[in-house]
Amino acid sequence: MIRKEAVELIAQEIGNQPIISANGFISRDLYETSEKESNFYMIGSMGLASSIGLGVALKNPGKKIYVFDGDGNILMNLGSLVTIGSLKPKNFIHIIFDNQSHESTGSQPTNSKIIELEKIAEVAKFKTYKISKKKQIEKIFSKIKKENGPICIIVKIEKSSVRSIRVDITPPNIKTRFMKSLK
Protein backbone atom coordinates (compact mmCIF):
# COMPACT_ATOMS: atom_id res chain seq x y z
CA MET A 1 0.00 0.00 0.00
CA ILE A 2 1.37 3.41 -0.89
CA ARG A 3 0.72 6.55 1.11
CA LYS A 4 -1.69 8.13 -1.34
CA GLU A 5 -3.96 5.04 -1.25
CA ALA A 6 -3.79 4.84 2.53
CA VAL A 7 -4.50 8.56 2.97
CA GLU A 8 -7.53 8.36 0.69
CA LEU A 9 -9.01 5.23 2.29
CA ILE A 10 -8.52 6.54 5.83
CA ALA A 11 -9.91 9.98 4.95
CA GLN A 12 -13.02 8.19 3.64
CA GLU A 13 -13.44 6.44 6.99
CA ILE A 14 -13.10 9.77 8.80
CA GLY A 15 -15.67 11.55 6.65
CA ASN A 16 -16.29 15.16 7.53
CA GLN A 17 -14.43 15.28 10.85
CA PRO A 18 -11.37 17.55 11.29
CA ILE A 19 -7.96 16.35 10.11
CA ILE A 20 -4.68 18.15 10.80
CA SER A 21 -2.16 16.92 8.24
CA ALA A 22 1.63 17.11 8.36
CA ASN A 23 3.74 18.97 5.84
CA GLY A 24 5.31 17.30 2.82
CA PHE A 25 3.59 14.63 0.77
CA ILE A 26 0.98 13.79 3.42
CA SER A 27 -0.84 17.12 3.08
CA ARG A 28 -0.48 16.98 -0.70
CA ASP A 29 -2.02 13.50 -0.87
CA LEU A 30 -4.86 14.52 1.43
CA TYR A 31 -5.52 17.65 -0.63
CA GLU A 32 -5.57 15.81 -3.96
CA THR A 33 -7.65 12.83 -2.84
CA SER A 34 -9.92 14.16 -0.09
CA GLU A 35 -10.07 17.98 -0.07
CA LYS A 36 -12.56 19.45 2.42
CA GLU A 37 -12.83 22.56 4.57
CA SER A 38 -12.20 20.72 7.83
CA ASN A 39 -8.70 19.70 6.67
CA PHE A 40 -5.93 21.82 8.17
CA TYR A 41 -2.99 21.45 5.79
CA MET A 42 0.14 22.31 7.78
CA ILE A 43 2.55 23.24 5.01
CA GLY A 44 5.50 24.31 7.19
CA SER A 45 6.48 23.90 10.87
CA MET A 46 7.53 20.28 10.50
CA GLY A 47 6.80 18.13 13.54
CA LEU A 48 3.92 20.16 14.91
CA ALA A 49 0.80 18.52 13.42
CA SER A 50 0.21 16.48 16.59
CA SER A 51 0.64 19.59 18.78
CA ILE A 52 -1.83 21.63 16.73
CA GLY A 53 -4.19 18.64 16.82
CA LEU A 54 -3.84 18.44 20.61
CA GLY A 55 -4.76 22.13 20.99
CA VAL A 56 -7.83 21.61 18.81
CA ALA A 57 -8.81 18.37 20.59
CA LEU A 58 -8.60 19.92 24.08
CA LYS A 59 -10.89 22.78 23.05
CA ASN A 60 -13.39 20.71 21.05
CA PRO A 61 -14.19 17.73 23.29
CA GLY A 62 -17.38 17.03 21.35
CA LYS A 63 -15.51 16.33 18.12
CA LYS A 64 -13.04 13.61 17.19
CA ILE A 65 -9.80 15.17 15.99
CA TYR A 66 -7.56 13.24 13.60
CA VAL A 67 -3.88 13.95 12.96
CA PHE A 68 -2.19 12.67 9.78
CA ASP A 69 1.48 12.51 10.71
CA GLY A 70 4.63 11.01 9.23
CA ASP A 71 7.49 9.09 10.82
CA GLY A 72 9.96 11.90 10.09
CA ASN A 73 7.49 14.43 11.45
CA ILE A 74 6.77 12.73 14.78
CA LEU A 75 10.45 11.95 15.29
CA MET A 76 11.04 15.72 15.30
CA ASN A 77 8.56 16.19 18.15
CA LEU A 78 8.55 13.01 20.23
CA GLY A 79 7.90 15.14 23.32
CA SER A 80 4.43 15.70 21.89
CA LEU A 81 3.57 12.05 22.62
CA VAL A 82 4.51 12.62 26.28
CA THR A 83 2.30 15.71 26.53
CA ILE A 84 -0.65 14.02 24.77
CA GLY A 85 -0.27 10.79 26.75
CA SER A 86 -0.25 12.77 30.01
CA LEU A 87 -3.37 14.77 29.16
CA LYS A 88 -5.20 11.74 27.67
CA PRO A 89 -7.63 13.55 25.34
CA LYS A 90 -10.40 11.04 24.59
CA ASN A 91 -11.08 12.56 21.19
CA PHE A 92 -7.52 12.46 19.82
CA ILE A 93 -6.60 10.01 17.06
CA HIS A 94 -3.03 10.07 15.83
CA ILE A 95 -2.37 8.35 12.51
CA ILE A 96 1.28 7.99 11.58
CA PHE A 97 2.10 7.04 7.99
CA ASP A 98 5.42 5.27 8.33
CA ASN A 99 7.61 4.74 5.27
CA GLN A 100 10.79 4.83 7.34
CA SER A 101 12.02 7.76 5.32
CA HIS A 102 11.94 11.47 4.64
CA GLU A 103 10.38 10.88 1.24
CA SER A 104 9.78 14.48 0.18
CA THR A 105 13.42 15.47 0.63
CA GLY A 106 14.78 12.51 -1.39
CA SER A 107 13.91 9.38 0.60
CA GLN A 108 16.66 9.65 3.16
CA PRO A 109 16.15 7.06 5.93
CA THR A 110 14.61 7.78 9.34
CA ASN A 111 15.30 5.58 12.34
CA SER A 112 11.71 4.32 12.65
CA LYS A 113 13.04 1.09 11.12
CA ILE A 114 15.21 0.52 14.18
CA ILE A 115 13.12 2.12 16.94
CA GLU A 116 9.48 1.10 16.63
CA LEU A 117 7.07 4.03 16.86
CA GLU A 118 4.22 1.83 18.10
CA LYS A 119 6.26 0.91 21.18
CA ILE A 120 7.01 4.56 21.92
CA ALA A 121 3.29 5.38 21.58
CA GLU A 122 2.38 2.48 23.87
CA VAL A 123 4.74 3.70 26.58
CA ALA A 124 3.18 7.15 26.18
CA LYS A 125 -0.19 5.53 27.08
CA PHE A 126 -1.81 5.60 23.65
CA LYS A 127 -4.02 2.72 22.63
CA THR A 128 -2.00 1.52 19.67
CA TYR A 129 -2.83 -0.22 16.40
CA LYS A 130 -0.81 -1.15 13.35
CA ILE A 131 -2.06 -1.33 9.78
CA SER A 132 -0.04 -2.72 6.90
CA LYS A 133 -2.76 -3.91 4.48
CA LYS A 134 -5.68 -2.07 2.90
CA LYS A 135 -8.26 -4.56 4.15
CA GLN A 136 -7.35 -3.81 7.80
CA ILE A 137 -8.38 -0.16 7.50
CA GLU A 138 -12.15 -0.61 7.60
CA LYS A 139 -11.96 -3.12 10.44
CA ILE A 140 -9.74 -1.00 12.67
CA PHE A 141 -11.69 2.19 12.01
CA SER A 142 -15.00 0.58 12.89
CA LYS A 143 -13.39 -0.71 16.09
CA ILE A 144 -11.92 2.62 17.21
CA LYS A 145 -15.21 4.45 16.68
CA LYS A 146 -16.34 2.98 20.00
CA GLU A 147 -13.06 3.55 21.82
CA ASN A 148 -11.65 6.46 23.82
CA GLY A 149 -8.39 8.12 22.86
CA PRO A 150 -5.66 8.88 22.74
CA ILE A 151 -5.33 6.33 19.97
CA CYS A 152 -2.28 5.90 17.76
CA ILE A 153 -2.45 4.01 14.47
CA ILE A 154 0.81 3.26 12.69
CA VAL A 155 0.16 2.76 8.98
CA LYS A 156 3.04 1.03 7.26
CA ILE A 157 3.39 2.30 3.71
CA GLU A 158 5.72 1.70 0.80
CA LYS A 159 7.72 4.36 -0.93
CA SER A 160 6.34 5.39 -4.30
CA SER A 161 7.04 7.76 -7.16
CA VAL A 162 3.38 8.89 -7.27
CA ARG A 163 3.27 12.65 -6.60
CA SER A 164 0.24 14.69 -5.61
CA ILE A 165 -0.21 18.36 -6.41
CA ARG A 166 0.76 21.09 -3.97
CA VAL A 167 -1.86 22.63 -1.73
CA ASP A 168 -2.77 25.84 -3.55
CA ILE A 169 -5.05 27.43 -0.95
CA THR A 170 -3.43 30.34 0.90
CA PRO A 171 -2.53 29.55 4.52
CA PRO A 172 -4.85 32.24 6.00
CA ASN A 173 -7.62 30.72 3.92
CA ILE A 174 -6.83 27.20 5.13
CA LYS A 175 -7.11 28.53 8.68
CA THR A 176 -10.33 30.47 8.13
CA ARG A 177 -12.12 27.51 6.52
CA PHE A 178 -10.86 25.17 9.22
CA MET A 179 -12.04 27.48 12.02
CA LYS A 180 -15.47 27.77 10.45
CA SER A 181 -15.73 23.99 10.24
CA LEU A 182 -15.09 23.70 14.01
CA LYS A 183 -18.11 25.83 14.92
Partner: protein
Amino acid sequence: MNKKIQRQIFNLLKKKGIKNFVGVPDSTMKYFIDEGLKKEKILITTKEEEAIGIAAGMSMSNEKSLVFMQNAGFANSLSTITSLINLYEIPMILLIGWRGFLKDDAPEHEKIGEIQPELINIIGLESKIINDKNFKNVCDWAIMKLNKKKVIGLIIKRDFLD
Protein backbone atom coordinates in the same frame (compact mmCIF):
# COMPACT_ATOMS: atom_id res chain seq x y z
CA MET B 1 10.18 42.01 38.08
CA ASN B 2 8.33 42.18 41.39
CA LYS B 3 6.75 38.89 42.57
CA LYS B 4 3.35 40.43 43.26
CA ILE B 5 3.27 42.20 39.92
CA GLN B 6 4.01 38.91 38.12
CA ARG B 7 1.01 37.35 39.86
CA GLN B 8 -1.09 40.40 39.02
CA ILE B 9 -0.14 40.19 35.35
CA PHE B 10 -1.31 36.58 35.21
CA ASN B 11 -4.64 37.46 36.83
CA LEU B 12 -5.10 40.55 34.70
CA LEU B 13 -4.54 38.69 31.44
CA LYS B 14 -6.85 35.91 32.60
CA LYS B 15 -9.51 38.43 33.53
CA LYS B 16 -9.15 40.11 30.16
CA GLY B 17 -9.94 36.89 28.34
CA ILE B 18 -6.75 34.86 27.90
CA LYS B 19 -7.97 31.30 28.32
CA ASN B 20 -4.81 29.29 27.70
CA PHE B 21 -1.28 29.66 29.08
CA VAL B 22 1.07 27.15 27.44
CA GLY B 23 4.83 27.01 27.54
CA VAL B 24 8.20 26.07 28.97
CA PRO B 25 9.11 27.52 32.40
CA ASP B 26 11.58 30.35 32.83
CA SER B 27 12.79 31.54 36.24
CA THR B 28 12.49 35.16 35.08
CA MET B 29 8.69 34.76 35.25
CA LYS B 30 8.54 32.15 38.00
CA TYR B 31 5.71 33.86 39.94
CA PHE B 32 3.61 34.44 36.82
CA ILE B 33 3.77 30.70 36.14
CA ASP B 34 3.25 29.82 39.79
CA GLU B 35 0.06 31.90 39.89
CA GLY B 36 -1.18 30.07 36.79
CA LEU B 37 -0.33 26.67 38.29
CA LYS B 38 -2.31 27.56 41.41
CA LYS B 39 -5.30 28.41 39.26
CA GLU B 40 -4.76 25.20 37.23
CA LYS B 41 -4.48 27.23 34.06
CA ILE B 42 -0.96 26.30 32.94
CA LEU B 43 0.05 23.66 30.41
CA ILE B 44 3.76 22.82 30.49
CA THR B 45 5.18 21.38 27.28
CA THR B 46 8.48 19.72 26.37
CA LYS B 47 9.60 22.44 23.94
CA GLU B 48 8.60 25.96 23.00
CA GLU B 49 7.70 24.99 19.43
CA GLU B 50 5.35 22.36 20.78
CA ALA B 51 3.75 25.03 22.97
CA ILE B 52 3.23 27.32 19.98
CA GLY B 53 1.66 24.42 18.03
CA ILE B 54 -0.76 23.63 20.87
CA ALA B 55 -1.62 27.32 21.33
CA ALA B 56 -2.21 27.57 17.57
CA GLY B 57 -4.78 24.77 17.81
CA MET B 58 -6.43 26.49 20.77
CA SER B 59 -6.42 29.87 19.07
CA MET B 60 -8.06 28.32 15.99
CA SER B 61 -10.73 27.04 18.37
CA ASN B 62 -11.51 30.70 19.12
CA GLU B 63 -9.78 30.98 22.50
CA LYS B 64 -7.20 33.64 23.27
CA SER B 65 -3.86 31.98 24.05
CA LEU B 66 -0.46 32.91 25.44
CA VAL B 67 2.85 31.02 25.12
CA PHE B 68 5.56 31.64 27.73
CA MET B 69 9.24 30.89 27.23
CA GLN B 70 12.81 31.99 27.86
CA ASN B 71 14.62 33.76 25.01
CA ALA B 72 16.61 30.55 24.34
CA GLY B 73 13.25 29.01 23.47
CA PHE B 74 12.34 31.99 21.37
CA ALA B 75 15.46 31.30 19.30
CA ASN B 76 14.35 27.65 19.01
CA SER B 77 10.98 28.80 17.73
CA LEU B 78 11.93 31.10 14.86
CA SER B 79 10.85 28.72 12.11
CA THR B 80 7.57 27.95 13.89
CA ILE B 81 6.85 31.67 14.15
CA THR B 82 7.57 32.32 10.47
CA SER B 83 6.09 29.15 8.96
CA LEU B 84 3.09 28.60 11.22
CA ILE B 85 1.67 31.50 13.23
CA ASN B 86 2.82 34.36 10.98
CA LEU B 87 2.10 32.47 7.77
CA TYR B 88 -1.42 31.39 8.78
CA GLU B 89 -2.06 34.59 10.79
CA ILE B 90 -2.87 32.76 14.02
CA PRO B 91 -3.01 35.26 16.89
CA MET B 92 -1.25 34.70 20.21
CA ILE B 93 0.92 36.41 22.82
CA LEU B 94 4.52 35.26 23.17
CA LEU B 95 5.74 36.11 26.69
CA ILE B 96 9.53 35.98 26.55
CA GLY B 97 12.02 36.12 29.43
CA TRP B 98 15.04 38.18 28.49
CA ARG B 99 18.06 36.29 29.82
CA GLY B 100 21.37 37.98 29.14
CA PHE B 101 19.82 41.41 29.65
CA LEU B 102 22.34 42.04 32.42
CA LYS B 103 25.90 41.80 31.18
CA ASP B 104 26.98 39.51 34.02
CA ASP B 105 24.16 36.95 33.58
CA ALA B 106 25.37 33.35 33.02
CA PRO B 107 27.61 32.90 29.95
CA GLU B 108 25.14 30.72 28.01
CA HIS B 109 22.69 33.64 27.91
CA GLU B 110 25.15 36.30 26.83
CA LYS B 111 24.89 36.08 23.04
CA ILE B 112 21.14 35.53 22.77
CA GLY B 113 20.55 38.33 25.29
CA GLU B 114 22.65 40.65 23.19
CA ILE B 115 21.00 39.90 19.83
CA GLN B 116 17.43 39.49 21.14
CA PRO B 117 16.16 43.02 20.28
CA GLU B 118 17.57 42.71 16.77
CA LEU B 119 16.15 39.19 16.35
CA ILE B 120 12.68 40.36 17.38
CA ASN B 121 12.96 43.25 15.00
CA ILE B 122 14.18 41.18 12.03
CA ILE B 123 11.45 38.57 12.46
CA GLY B 124 8.88 41.38 12.50
CA LEU B 125 7.42 40.53 15.90
CA GLU B 126 5.60 43.53 17.29
CA SER B 127 6.52 43.65 20.98
CA LYS B 128 6.69 45.67 24.17
CA ILE B 129 8.79 45.34 27.30
CA ILE B 130 6.48 44.80 30.26
CA ASN B 131 7.56 46.05 33.71
CA ASP B 132 6.33 46.88 37.22
CA LYS B 133 5.12 50.31 36.15
CA ASN B 134 3.59 49.87 32.72
CA PHE B 135 2.03 46.41 33.02
CA LYS B 136 -1.61 47.50 33.03
CA ASN B 137 -1.26 49.53 29.86
CA VAL B 138 0.87 46.88 28.18
CA CYS B 139 -1.69 44.16 28.99
CA ASP B 140 -4.43 46.35 27.47
CA TRP B 141 -2.27 46.84 24.39
CA ALA B 142 -1.67 43.07 24.10
CA ILE B 143 -5.39 42.30 24.30
CA MET B 144 -6.18 45.01 21.76
CA LYS B 145 -3.65 43.45 19.37
CA LEU B 146 -5.04 39.95 19.94
CA ASN B 147 -8.49 41.23 19.08
CA LYS B 148 -6.98 42.42 15.80
CA LYS B 149 -5.67 38.86 15.25
CA LYS B 150 -1.99 39.75 15.71
CA VAL B 151 0.97 37.75 17.00
CA ILE B 152 2.75 39.90 19.57
CA GLY B 153 5.61 39.66 22.04
CA LEU B 154 5.76 40.73 25.69
CA ILE B 155 9.29 40.86 27.02
CA ILE B 156 10.26 40.53 30.70
CA LYS B 157 13.79 41.67 31.50
CA ARG B 158 15.86 39.43 33.73
CA ASP B 159 16.84 42.25 36.07
CA PHE B 160 18.37 40.18 38.85
CA LEU B 161 21.26 37.74 39.25
CA ASP B 162 21.21 34.49 41.21
